[in-house]
C-alpha cells in the first residue's frame, strides 16, 4: 500500500490561505475520488475540498480552526499500489465552485511550460513550491510590463478577460481587476515603475513597496496588554476591513435622510406575506423597497452607475442588480439579486431567502456576491433610527431602510397615529450632487408611500 498526500489546492482569485472549518472525513474512512473531505473558508467563500483520488484516510494533518496556506498537506491517504495518481498532486475544488476553472488553470500552466523550447522551465511539483500568481499561459496575450504589474498586484493574469486587440490583457484590465481603490492609491507608484522602464535597484524596490503598502498599517501599542486578547484578523473580517478602508479613502460620502409614511406599504406587504406563505416563501419589506428603488434609479440613472477613475469616465449601467447587506456570524456579506427589475416580488423574496441562508452558512459563491449596481442595507430589522452606511464600492450609492414605527403625524388639524419608516440615501459626492440626491430620495419615497405608483411600474 502506498500513501498519498492530499494538499489544499490553489483556489485562485488571489487566495493564499484558508481556514480549516470542518473535517468531513475521519481517520479510517474510505473516500472515493472527488468526495468532499473538508470545508475550508477563504477570505472569499467557504469551499469544499474534494479528494483527488480514492483511498483510506490514514492521518489528518491539520486541525479544525487551523489557518492553512495553499499546497499544505491536509491529509494522508492510503491508496492501493498502482492507483493512478493524477498529474497534479493537488486536489481540485468542487466543480460547483466558481473559481474552479481558474484553479485548474493555475495548476496546469507551470507543468505545460516545460514542453515548449521557448519558455522551457523545470518546475518542481508540489512541496509547497507553487507561486502565486502563476506565470502567464501560452495563449494569454500581455506585454512583459503588464505581466509584471499583474504579478505585483497579485492578479492572476490567466483569469482576466482581455479587452485589448485580439483579446490582449491590457494594463487597464489588470488595474481594474483589483477594483479602482487599489488603482487610486497604488497608481502613482505603478506609474513610476512604468516610466522608469528598467527601473533598477532601490528605486524599483521602493516603488514596489509603496504599491504593496497601499493603506498605511498602523500599529496598536498596548498599555494594558494583560487585560487584552489578540486574535488574528483573517478571512471575511480582513476583507471587510480592506474594502471599507479603501472605499472611505476613495469616495467622498454624504447622506440624506427622510421619513416615509408606510401605512399603505404595510398593508400591501401584510397581504403579500399571507399570500406568499402558500408558496412557502417569507415575504419581507425588502423586495418592495427593491422595486421602488429600481423605479427611482431608472429616473436617476447616476445612482446606478460607477466611476472609472482610470479612464475618467462615468459608467451608466443599463441593468439593475440590487445588493442587500446580510449580517452573518462571520461578518457582513452582500449577496446580489441580479436583474431585480425583471423578477416578481415572489421570485425576489425566494431568492433573498436562499441567498441569506447561504450567507449565514458561509456557502455563498463569489458569483453571488458580484456585480451589484446599488445596495440596500436593512438596519431596521435590528433597530436604530438613522445610520450613515458606507457605499459598496464601485457602486455610487447605498440605501438605508430602518424600522417601521408608529408615530403621531399631524394631519388635517390633528395628530394621526401613522406607521412610518426612515430611509437614507448615502451617495458618492463625486458624481451625485446634494440636490440630485434629495430629488432622488423624494422620487424613491413617492413609490414607498404611494403603493399605487409603485405597482404601476412593477413587473
Amino acid at each position: 500500500m502506498a500513501t498519498k498526500d492530499v494538499k489544499l489546492p490553489d483556489i485562485g482569485e488571489g487566495v493564499t490561505e484558508g481556514e480549516m472549518v470542518k473535517w468531513l472525513v475521519k481517520v479510517g474512512d474510505v473516500v472515493k475520488a472527488d468526495q468532499p473531505i473538508a470545508e475550508v473558508m477563504t477570505d472569499k467563500a467557504t469551499v469544499e475540498v474534494p479528494s483527488p483520488i480514492a483511498g483510506v484516510v490514514k492521518e489528518l494533518k491539520v486541525k479544525e480552526g487551523d489557518i492553512v496556506p495553499i499546497e499544505t498537506t491536509l491529509l494522508v491517504l492510503e491508496v492501493s499500489a498502482g492507483a493512478s495518481a493524477p498529474a497534479a498532486s493537488a486536489a481540485k475544488p468542487a466543480a460547483a465552485m466558481p473559481t474552479a476553472p481558474q484553479m485548474a488553470k493555475t495548476v496546469a500552466p507551470v507543468a505545460s511550460a516545460s514542453a515548449s523550447s521557448g519558455a522551457s522551465t523545470n518546475v518542481a511539483s508540489g512541496g509547497g513550491l507553487d507561486v502565486y500568481p502563476p506565470a502567464a499561459e501560452v495563449h494569454v496575450l500581455a506585454t512583459p510590463a503588464t505581466r509584471r504589474v499583474a504579478r505585483e498586484m497579485s492578479v492572476d493574469i490567466n483569469s482576466l478577460h482581455g479587452t485589448g486587440i485580439a483579446g490582449r490583457v491590457t494594463r487597464d484590465d489588470v488595474l481594474k481587476s483589483k477594483g479602482t481603490g487599489a488603482v487610486a492609491a497604488g497608481q502613482p507608484s505603478f506609474a513610476t515603475t512604468a516610466s522608469a522602464g528598467a527601473a533598477t535597484g532601490a528605486s524599483a524596490a521602493a516603488s514596489a513597496k509603496a504599491a504593496a503598502a497601499m493603506p498605511t498599517r498602523m500599529a496598536y501599542v498596548s498599555t494594558q496588554p494583560n487585560a487584552e486578547e489578540r486574535v488574528p484578523m483573517r478571512g471575511i473580517r480582513r476583507k471587510i476591513a480592506e474594502q471599507m478602508q479603501m472605499t472611505k479613502h476613495v469616495v467622498p460620502h454624504f447622506t440624506i435622510m427622510d421619513e416615509a409614511n408606510v401605512s399603505e406599504l404595510v398593508k400591501l406587504r401584510d397581504q403579500a406575506k399571507v399570500a406568499g406563505e402558500k408558496y412557502g416563501v417569507k415575504v419581507t419589506y425588502l423586495p418592495f423597497v427593491m422595486k421602488a428603488l429600481v423605479a427611482a434609479i431608472r429616473e436617476f440613472p447616476m445612482l446606478n452607475a460607477s466611476i472609472d477613475d482610470q479612464a475618467g469616465e462615468i459608467v451608466y449601467k443599463k441593468y439593475y442588480n440590487i445588493g442587500f447587506a446580510a449580517d452573518t456570524p462571520n461578518g457582513l456579506l452582500v449577496p446580489v439579486i441580479k436583474n431585480a427589475d425583471q423578477k416578481t416580488i415572489l421570485e425576489i423574496s425566494k431568492e433573498i431567502q436562499e441567498l441569506a441562508k447561504k450567507a449565514r452558512d458561509g456557502k455563498l459563491s463569489l458569483d453571488e456576491m458580484k456585480g451589484a449596481t446599488i445596495t440596500i442595507t436593512n438596519i431596521g430589522s435590528v433597530g436604530g433610527t438613522y445610520a450613515t452606511p458606507i457605499i459598496n464600492h464601485p457602486e455610487v450609492a447605498i440605501i438605508g431602510m430602518y424600522k417601521v414605527d408608529w408615530k403621531p403625524v399631524y394631519k388635517d388639524g390633528q395628530f394621526v397615529p401613522t406607521q412610518v419608516m426612515n430611509y437614507t440615501a448615502t451617495c458618492d459626492h463625486r458624481l451625485i450632487d446634494g440636490a440630485v440626491a434629495a430629488n432622488f430620495l423624494k422620487a424613491f419615497l413617492k413609490r414607498i408611500e404611494n403603493v399605487g405608483q409603485l405597482v404601476l411600474e412593477m413587473i
Binding site: 514542453a115 519558455a119 523545470n122 512541496g127 485580439a166
Partner: protein, 485 residues
Amino acid sequence: MATQNFDVCVIGAGPGGYVAAIRAAQLGKKTVIIEREYLGGVCLNVGCIPSKAMISAAHFLHRVQHDAPEMGIEIKSDVKVNMKKLVSWKQSVCDQMSGGVSQLLKGNQVTIIRGEAEFKTAQELVVKSKEGATSIVAKNFIIATGSRPIEIPGFKIDEKEVLSSTGALALDELPKTAVVIGGGYIGLEIGSYLSKLGTEVTVLEAGATLLNGVAERDCVQVVERKLKKGGVKIVFGAKAKSYKKTGSDYEVEYDLAGKLEKVKCAKLLLTVGRRPNSDQANLKGIGLQIDEKGFVKVNAQRRTSIAHIFAIGDVAGQPMLAHKASYEGVLVAEVIGGMNRAYDAKTVPAVVFTDPEIASAGMLESECRAKGYNDLKIGKFPFAANGRAVSLKETDGFVKIIADAKTNIVLGVHMVGPEVSNLISEAALAIEMGARVEDLALTIHPHPTLGEVVMEAAEATLGHAIHIIQKPLSRAEGSSVRATH
C-alpha cells in the same frame, strides 16, 4: 575556521550568478559570490565568448579566401593562419570580458571568494581553497553552479585524447582531421570553424537530424547543405562506440545501422550535450530535491524545495542558455529583495553560430500545433532577395514567421542567414508584446539592411510580400481567414 555572514551568497560566477550578485547588491543586500574557476563562468571563458572569437576569425579567413577575389580584392601571397596568435587573441577577448565582470562585482561591493563551495547545512557552506577554508552563513543562497559536458561509454573527457568544447577552444595547433561526436549546436559551431580554418571534419550524429528539436527542419537544412559544401562529412545514425590510439592519431569506431564503421582523426571531440552540476556542493546532502534529469527542482520564482535557497541557470533546468540564466539571476535577486517576481517570459530566444547562423524565438511549428493552434499562417522570405544580403555576399537563408491565422498573433520566428543572431531580438520582442504580423509588417525597417527581411517575411505571412512573387492573397494556400480585429 573563520565565519562570515551575508544576506545573499551566490555560488558560481557565470552569467547567472554574477548577474544575480550584482542585482542583489544593487538592492542593498550584503552579497558574496563564490567561484572555483573563472569569473564569468563557462560562458565568458570557455564557452560562448571564446567560440565566437574563433568563429569570427574563421569566417574572416573564409571570406578572404572565397569572397575577396570575386569582390576584386587580390591577395598575392598565401593567407596563413597563425594558430598560436589566434588563440592568444581569443584569450585576450576572454580576459577582457572576465576582467569586466570582476570590476562590476567589486564596484557593487560584492565580496568575491575563490574556492570550491560545499553546503554543510542548509544555512552554512564551507569554501575550500588553497588558502584554507572559510565558512559562509547567509540568509539566502543562490545556486548557479552550471553544467558540464556529458560523457558517453567508451569516451572519457580528459582534454588530451577526448576533448570537450573547452579543450577544443584551447587547441593552439590546427589538427589535420577531427571527429566531432554529436551534431548539436556546440559540435556544429566548433566543427564549422575548425573546418573553415582547414581541418577535415567528420560529424557523427546518433540521430537523423542535426540540431534536433532546437531549430526548424528547413533552417537546419540550409546549414547542413553549407557544411557539406564546405567539406564537412556528416554521418547520421552513427553511434560512437570506442576509440583507440594509432600512433599520434585516433581511430573512432561507430555503429551505423548495426554495422561497425571506423574513422580516423587527429583530434577527437565529444559534444553530446551538457548535464547539470547538481551532484556537487553537497546539494543532495542538505535535502534539496533534484529531478530525474538531474536538475534542481525549482518553482516559478526559482525557489528550491528549501525556501531560502534558490537555483538558476543550467543547474535549474532547460534551456541551458546563458541569457536564461541572467534573466533568472535578476529575478531571484529581486525576489530576495522582497519583490513579487516569477519566471513568466514567453520565449527564450536561441541562437546557433553556424554558417549561416540559426536563430529562433517562440514556438516551432510542431509546438504551435501541440499547443492547440491548428490554423497557422506561415510566411518565409529569403535573404537572396534582400539588397544588403546580396551586397554582403551572404545570401543563404531566410526568415520564417509562424502566426495564429485567427488573430495574426506572432507565435514563432525562425531564421537562418547572415547576422540572424542579431535580428532575432526583434522577433523576441514581438512575441513578448503579443504583436501581430501586421505590427512587424507596418514598422518601417531601414533600407538597406538585413532587418528588412523580417518585415518582408511578415508581409509574406500576410500573403503579399513586395520583393518575392506571391499568389494573390485570395488564392494563397492555407487559410484565407483574415483577422477582423
